[in-house]
Symmetry: C3
Subunit: 136 residues, 3 copies
């Protein structure tokens, strides 16, 4: 079994943003030379996340962020954390900071409409994403 | 180490539905012959998800779906995606499209009350679920 | 490849609580002797969860729980489950019952501000957390 780690950098340009990173994850998988196994995509930040959702119509990402912003306004009565980004921490825990995707014959096992997205909730910032390929 | 992939098909009968697929996952694990490792259950759709929740009282699934529907109505002012299922995409990213369960001596390591559920958010449809067993 | 399982017990003191369990997970990893791979942290309960969020300012956990409680009140018109903890089941499915963290040279690959938290949504109770270290 081989375990290959890789990190990429992404730059966001607004406070809330979903960036399609599928291509970068596929590149890391190709470099690893691993054909079958599991790929972990992990965001080491507490005000961002990783999700899998539609890769075709960018309106889907728009609507996801719109919904999260309506459910989770930036300022809520009772917030104690002084950085003004408590909403971003909540979004991170609800969306989650990582996803696992199966690897089969060198290909990510994603549905036709699925892409991997880095979710920025407190940008703009420069962020890291860790990618681990584990298999044979 | 062995890596065995499997896919199952599930059919849903309403727009929002939770289907207990624990038995099907256990069957895939048994067929794999793997005793110890990790099982990944992955939904390749962007308007559905996978969760782990109570396997005993079906009222729990009723209440989970009721809550999600109240939080995330089908139509929200500002939605741009033209298919009328933006709420289903949001639910998919919040619930998540996969879960991992440990495998010990051939058994899924689930709590007494835990079952694996396919979550339909834009049915009725026929859907796929990928199951990967990785271990020895 | 080695696969080492471990379980810890945690006690919660209020209905909703986030407990930092990073140290206990690190201890399990150290005992396993495994240097590189993936660590799965899994909660076998349906009214609790596992998340990764800020390890420094406890106000972040306060604000996360405050937000979840505002979004998901304990009693919602239409709840059928008779135990009065339907909100806790919803929180469990939204936060998720497990997280995976990469292991590199014996260290959990967490960001500077990231910690692993057990999330209690129906306490106080004594709970279990399963930790699996898989790698070499």
């Amino acid at each position: 079994m081989k375990i290959i780690g890789h990190a990429i950098s992404v730059s966001t340009s607004t406070r809330n943003q979903m960036l399609n990173i599928t291509r970068q994850v596929e590149d890391a998988v190709a470099k690893s030379g691993i054909q079958n196994g599991i790929v972990t995509v992990f965001c080491p930040h507490t005000t961002a996340g990783i999700t899998i959702n539609e890769n075709a119509d960018p309106d889907v990402c728009h609507d996801i962020l719109l919904t999260l912003n309506k459910l989770l306004p930036q300022n809520l009565s009772g917030y104690q954390h002084s950085e003004g980004n408590s909403d971003a921490h909540v979004k991170s825990s609800l969306v989650g900071c990582s996803r696992q995707v199966m690897l089969n014959k060198g290909n990510l096992v994603l549905g036709t409409w699925q892409g991997l997205f880095f979710c920025e909730f407190d940008g703009p910032r420069t962020r890291s994403v860790h990618i681990q390929v584990m298999g044979q």
